[in-house]
C-alpha cells in the first residue's frame, strides 16, 4: 500500500497551500468578524480552476481525482473553514450531483459553468421540519403540463445568498413517502424563488447560510434530475460525497489549529522555559497529532474508494465522524494551550474552535454517521 501522494496531488497541495497563504489567510479573521462572504476569493478560485477539480475536462473541469479535490478543501480549511465549506458545498453537493445524475443536456447547461467557476452552486434539502429526518420533506412540486410549481421553504443552505445554481428537493407525490421526493435544478432569479433570512452563526460566519423560499415558483420539466421519486436516493448518494468534503474541512481545521499551537509553544515561555518543554503539553500535542493522522487516512481512503467505484458510504461516514470529532477535540485543547491569549481574537484559534463545531452537525450529524456505520455492521 503506497501512501505517497501522486505528483499531481503534490502539486495541487502546493498550489492550494500558496494560494491559501496569500489569498485566504490574510482575510480569514476579518470576514469572520464582519460575516462578509469572500467573493474575491471565490473569483480567484474560479480563475485557477479550483471550483471544478474533480470533473472531466469535457465538462469544464480540471480532470482531476477526488483525492486532489479533497486535498484542496483540506488546505484552504487550515486557514479558513468558511472557504473550505464554500468550496465543498459547491463541488460535492451541487456540481457533483449533476455529474452523477444529470442528463447530457443538464450537464452541458449547468455542470459546465459550475465546473468552470462561472457559477456557484448550492444544495437545498434541509427544511424547518426536515433535518436529520430528511425524508420529512414538506416542500411540494406539482406537475402542471410542461413545468412544476414549487412551494415551500429550505433553511440552513450553504452558499444560499450567493449561489447561481441550486439543487432543491421537494415532494412530487406525498402518497409515496420517501419514494415521492424529487430533485430539481433551480436558477437564481427564477420568479417565485427568493432568499430568506441569513443565519447569524457561531462559526463559519462568513459562509452565506440562508433560507430559500418558494412561492409558486415555476420549474421547467427539463430541470427534473433523474426520475420523479428518485430524489431521496440521489440526495443520500450525493451526501456521501459531501461528507468526504466536510471531513476534509474538519481535518484542515484541526491541522491549522495544531500548527498554531506548535508555533506558539516554541515562543511562549512560562516558568523560565518555552511551553513545549513541559512534558504534559508535549504529550498532549503528540496525542492530537496522532489523532489527526488517523483521521487523515480515513478521509483519504474514502476519497480513493469513491474514485475506485466501490461502495464508499461507510468509509465516508467514518471519515466525517472521526474528523469532526478530532476537529472539536484538537481546537478545544489548542485554545487551552494558548490559555488567556487563545480566548482573544488576537489569535485565530478561538475562531477555529467555533468553526469546528458545525462539522459534527451538518451534512449529517455525527449521530447520523453512527447510524450509517452501525446499520452496516448489524445488517
Amino acid at each position: 500500500m503506497d501512501f505517497t501522494l501522486t505528483r499531481e496531488q503534490q502539486f495541487v497541495k502546493q498550489m492550494v497551500d500558496e494560494f491559501t497563504e496569500n489569498e485566504v489567510k490574510p482575510i480569514a479573521a476579518e470576514i469572520d468578524e464582519t460575516e462578509r462572504f469572500p467573493q474575491e476569493t471565490v473569483d480567484k478560485m474560479a480563475k485557477y480552476g479550483m471550483l471544478g477539480i474533480p470533473f472531466p475536462v469535457k465538462y469544464g473541469g480540471a480532470g482531476g481525482d477526488t483525492l486532489s479535490y479533497i486535498l484542496a478543501v483540506e488546505e484552504v480549511s487550515k486557514a479558513c473553514a468558511t472557504t473550505g465549506v464554500i468550496l465543498s458545498g459547491h463541488t460535492s453537493l451541487c456540481a457533483s450531483l449533476l455529474e452523477q445524475f444529470g442528463t447530457e443536456e443538464q450537464k452541458q447547461k449547468y455542470l459546465v459553468p459550475l465546473a468552470k467557476g462561472e457559477k456557484l452552486g448550492a444544495f437545498g434539502l434541509t427544511e424547518p421540519n426536515a433535518g436529520t429526518d430528511a425524508s420529512g420533506q414538506q416542500s411540494q412540486a406539482i406537475l402542471d403540463g410542461d413545468h412544476y410549481v414549487l412551494n415551500g421553504q429550505k433553511i440552513f443552505i450553504t452558499n444560499g445568498g450567493v449561489a447561481d445554481t441550486f439543487i432543491v428537493f421537494a415532494m412530487t407525490d406525498r402518497s409515496k413517502g420517501t419514494h415521492g421526493i424529487s430533485a430539481f435544478i433551480l436558477e437564481k432569479g427564477t420568479p417565485g424563488f427568493s432568499i430568506g433570512k441569513r443565519e447569524n452563526k457561531m462559526g463559519i460566519r462568513a459562509s452565506s447560510t440562508t433560507e430559500l423560499i418558494f412561492e409558486d415558483c415555476i420549474i421547467p420539466k427539463e430541470n427534473l434530475v433523474g426520475k420523479e421519486g428518485r430524489g431521496f436516493p440521489i440526495a443520500m448518494k450525493t451526501l456521501d460525497g459531501g461528507r468526504i468534503g466536510i471531513a476534509a474541512q474538519a481535518l484542515g481545521i484541526a491541522e491549522g489549529a495544531l500548527d498554531e499551537a506548535i508555533e506558539y509553544m516554541k515562543e511562549r515561555k512560562q516558568f523560565g522555559r518555552p511551553l513545549f518543554k513541559f512534558q504534559g503539553l508535549g504529550w498532549t500535542v503528540a496525542d492530537l497529532d496522532t489523532e489527526i493522522e488517523a483521521a487523515r487516512f480515513l478521509v483519504y481512503k474514502a476519497a480513493v474508494n469513491k474514485d475506485r467505484g466501490v461502495n464508499y458510504t461507510v468509509d465516508a461516514a467514518r471519515a466525517k465522524l472521526i474528523a469532526a470529532n478530532v476537529a472539536m477535540e484538537v481546537t478545544t485543547k489548542v485554545v487551552q494551550i494558548f490559555g488567556g491569549y487563545g480566548y482573544t481574537k488576537d489569535y485565530p484559534v478561538e475562531r477555529m474552535m467555533r468553526d469546528a463545531k458545525i462539522t459534527e452537525i451538518y451534512e449529517g450529524t455525527s449521530e447520523v454517521q453512527k447510524m450509517v456505520i452501525s446499520g452496516k455492521l448489524f445488517r
Partner: protein, 333 residues
C-alpha cells in the same frame, strides 16, 4: 593568457549625470590598500563626456592614474558602449584586478565584461584581500540569502573582477594637492555599437514602502509616549533607507496607521534590521518580528521582554539614543 603580464588595480569610476558615484571613491580607498599590497599602481577608469573635473577628483581621492575615455556616446551609460570601450582597454593594458561598484549599472556591466573576457567575476563582495603567497585576490561575499560567507579566488584568469556594494569600504580623505597622470582620449565608439535606444530617463521619489518589503524598520511602541515620538524614529529610518512601523498599542492610540502595525494582528516582517523603540515585547508583537535578521532594542527597562530577544539591547531613553544615532551616522558619511 600569461598571468604575469597583468599588472595594476583598476577601479571603474561610475558617473551618473556627470557626477562621480560615491561607491567609486570608496573603491579607490580599498583599491589603494590592495595596490599597496601588490606593489602596483591604482588606476581609475572613467567613461563620459566633459568629465575633466571628475578626472581630477579621482586623483584627489587616491588614483595614481586616470584613464578617461571621452565621447558624447558615453555620457549616459549603455551596456554596449561601455563594455566595448572597457574590454578594449583591458585587453590593451592588462590590469590584474578590476573593481566595479555593485550598483544597477555595475551589475549590468560587470558580467557582460567578464563574459566577453572569459574571466571571473565575484559579486557583492564584503571583503577583499590579497593572498601574499600567490598574490591572488581573495574575495569574500555572502551567499544563500546571507546565511553563508564564501571566499572566492580567480587564480588562472585575468583580470580578477569584483563588484562591491556602496558603503562597504571607505573612501580616503580628499587631497586636492595630489597630482597624477590623466590619460584622456577620444573613445572609439560609434552609434552602431549601441543596440539600445534610451527614450527617457525619469527620476522618481521613493514611494512609501510596504513595511513587509523594508530592509530596515525602526519601530515604536507605547514607550514612545506620544505620536511625536514617530518623528524622531522617522529621521533614523530615512537615514538608514528604511521605514517606520508600530506596535498594536500605537495603532490603537491613533499614533500611526494600521498599515504600519507589526504583530499577531498586524503584519509579520523579516527585515535585515529591526530597531524596536519603547516596545515592551509582548508575545503578540514578537510574533510579528522575531525572525528579523538583527534586532536592536532601545528601552528604559532592562528587564522588558524585548531586551531578551534582541541581538543588541540598549538600556536608555530613545529620546536621547535615537537622535544621537542620527547625528553619529550623519558624521560617518
Amino acid at each position: 593568457m600569461n598571468i604575469a603580464d597583468y599588472k595594476g588595480v583598476w577601479v571603474f569610476a561610475e558617473q551618473r549625470d556627470g557626477e562621480l558615484q560615491k561607491v567609486a571613491l570608496e573603491l579607490l580607498g580599498k583599491g589603494k590598500d590592495l595596490a599597496g599590497k601588490l606593489g602596483v599602481e591604482l588606476t581609475a577608469v572613467l567613461l563620459g563626456s566633459d568629465m575633466d573635473n571628475a578626472a581630477k577628483e579621482l586623483v584627489a581621492y587616491g588614483a595614481d592614474k586616470v584613464i578617461y575615455a571621452d565621447s558624447p556616446l558615453l555620457r549616459h551609460y549603455t551596456t554596449d558602449a561601455y563594455a566595448k570601450v572597457i574590454c578594449e582597454l583591458i585587453n590593451d593594458r592588462k590590469p590584474e584586478v578590476f573593481l566595479i561598484g555593485a550598483t544597477y549599472i555595475g551589475r549590468d556591466l560587470g558580467p557582460r565584461i567578464a563574459a566577453r573576457l572569459r574571466t571571473g567575476l565575484t559579486a557583492d563582495c564584503t571583503g577583499l584581500d590579497v593572498d601574499m603567497e600567490s598574490k591572488n585576490l581573495l574575495m569574500t561575499r555572502p551567499a544563500f540569502g546571507g546565511n553563508l560567507m564564501a571566499t572566492i579566488e580567480c587564480a588562472d584568469h585575468r583580470p580578477q573582477m569584483s563588484t562591491v556594494r556602496p558603503g562597504v569600504f571607505e573612501k580616503l580623505g580628499k587631497d586636492d594637492s595630489r597630482t597624477a597622470d590623466i590619460d584622456k582620449f577620444k573613445a572609439d565608439v560609434s552609434s552602431s555599437d549601441v543596440k539600445i535606444k534610451i527614450d527617457q530617463v525619469i527620476k522618481v521619489a521613493k514611494n512609501v514602502m510596504d513595511i513587509g518589503e523594508a530592509d530596515v524598520i525602526v519601530s515604536g511602541g507605547r514607550g514612545l509616549g506620544s505620536q511625536e515620538g514617530f518623528k524622531v524614529l522617522k529621521e533614523l529610518a530615512d537615514l538608514l533607507g528604511g521605514t517606520i512601523a508600530g506596535s498594536r498599542a500605537t495603532v490603537d492610540n491613533g499614533w500611526i496607521d494600521k498599515a504600519y502595525q507589526v504583530g499577531q494582528t498586524g503584519k509579520t516582517v523579516r527585515p535585515k534590521m529591526y530597531i524596536a523603540c519603547g516596545i515592551s515585547g509582548a508575545i503578540q508583537h514578537l510574533a510579528g518580528m522575531q525572525d528579523s535578521d538583527f534586532i536592536v532594542a532601545i528601552n528604559k527597562d532592562e528587564s522588558a521582554a524585548i531586551m531578551k530577544v534582541a541581538d543588541l539591547a540598549l538600556v536608555g531613553d530613545y529620546r536621547k539614543i535615537v537622535p544621537e544615532m542620527v547625528s553619529q551616522i550623519k558624521a560617518m558619511k
